[in-house]
């Protein structure tokens, strides 16, 4: 029941934002949005809400706080890839890291963050929750350990993912 309500409310908010045109919404617009949101809520409630762990406001605050180090890393690493594009100096390789996360949401968040920060691209995930990451400039020191150290690949993202979604 709560899954259905949460999905419907989320759909309705997105509808309101998308149909916003600078004035108040017309009544027929709101009605159509409500009907479609309820329909979407019925169909998608089990997909959108698996459990209620993420409903905790503390996790949302952590997520908002996470955006700042994320965008800093993203800007820094983008300049790095820009340098590699111009000079062509690359040392690619696929490395294995074990972030030690279990929940699906945390792993999705970590994999997407890794992909969005340039220089690393998550390729695959095995049964033991180890991530395989394509790294455009493999560090010499990182190859000595197995699995590879998490720090140079994903900065502090695994800790943030644990705080937000584990």
């Amino acid at each position: 029941m709560w899954a259905f309500i949460g999905t419907t409310v989320f759909c309705f908010i997105v509808w309101l934002a998308l149909s916003f045109n600078g004035h108040m919404w017309a009544n027929d617009e709101l009605l159509a949005g409500a009907v479609l949101s309820v329909a979407a809520g019925v169909v998608a409630r089990t997909l959108f809400v698996r459990d209620f762990k993420m409903a905790h406001p503390k996790r949302w605050l952590f997520f908002l706080a996470y955006l700042f180090p994320f965008f800093y890393e993203m800007a820094k690493a983008n300049l790095d890839v820009a340098y590699r594009v111009v000079t062509g100096r690359i040392r690619p390789g696929i490395v294995k890291i074990s972030p030690g996360l279990k929940s699906d949401i945390a792993l999705t968040m970590l994999a997407n963050s890794i992909t969005l920060t340039p220089g690393t691209l998550s390729v695959d995930l095995d049964e033991d929750n180890n991530l395989y990451v394509h790294w455009i400039n493999v560090d010499e020191g990182a190859l000595e350990e197995m699995p590879r150290p998490c720090r140079p690949v994903c900065a502090s993202f695994s800790q943030w993912a644990r705080r937000v979604a584990e």
């Binding site: 998308l18 600078g22 594009v85 690619p92 969005l116 340039p118 691209l121 390729v123 699995p147």
Partner: protein, 129 residues
Amino acid sequence: MMEWVLYACLAIGLLFNFLAVVGLLRFPDVYTRLHAGTKCATFGSIFLSLAVILYGLWRFYDGNEAMAALSVHAFIALVALLLTNPTGAHAIARAAHRSGVVPLQAVVDDLEEHNQQSMPTSQEEKNVE
């Protein structure tokens, strides 16, 4: 003053999108091209969307109410882009590796080793059956 902030955002966005194109042409194989094609493009698009959002807010501040919709819609497009772009890149990279595309110039390939370790056991299981 505001125009120059917008021009700066547009310039940074276009610069990174341009670098993405250069990277696509320059890099040797599918994985490294994905690096350039997804990330620089995402970063560039963030700045292009930011320019649209700021323009909408600026016009809204001047009293043109309909322009606030521009900001809201550009922001939703930006969120959708940030969610779907890495997912798509991940799907392409995984599909490429599964269909046997070898990363060129690679110094290490842990995923290939992992697959080779797990492949023989699955075949043995089939033989037993």
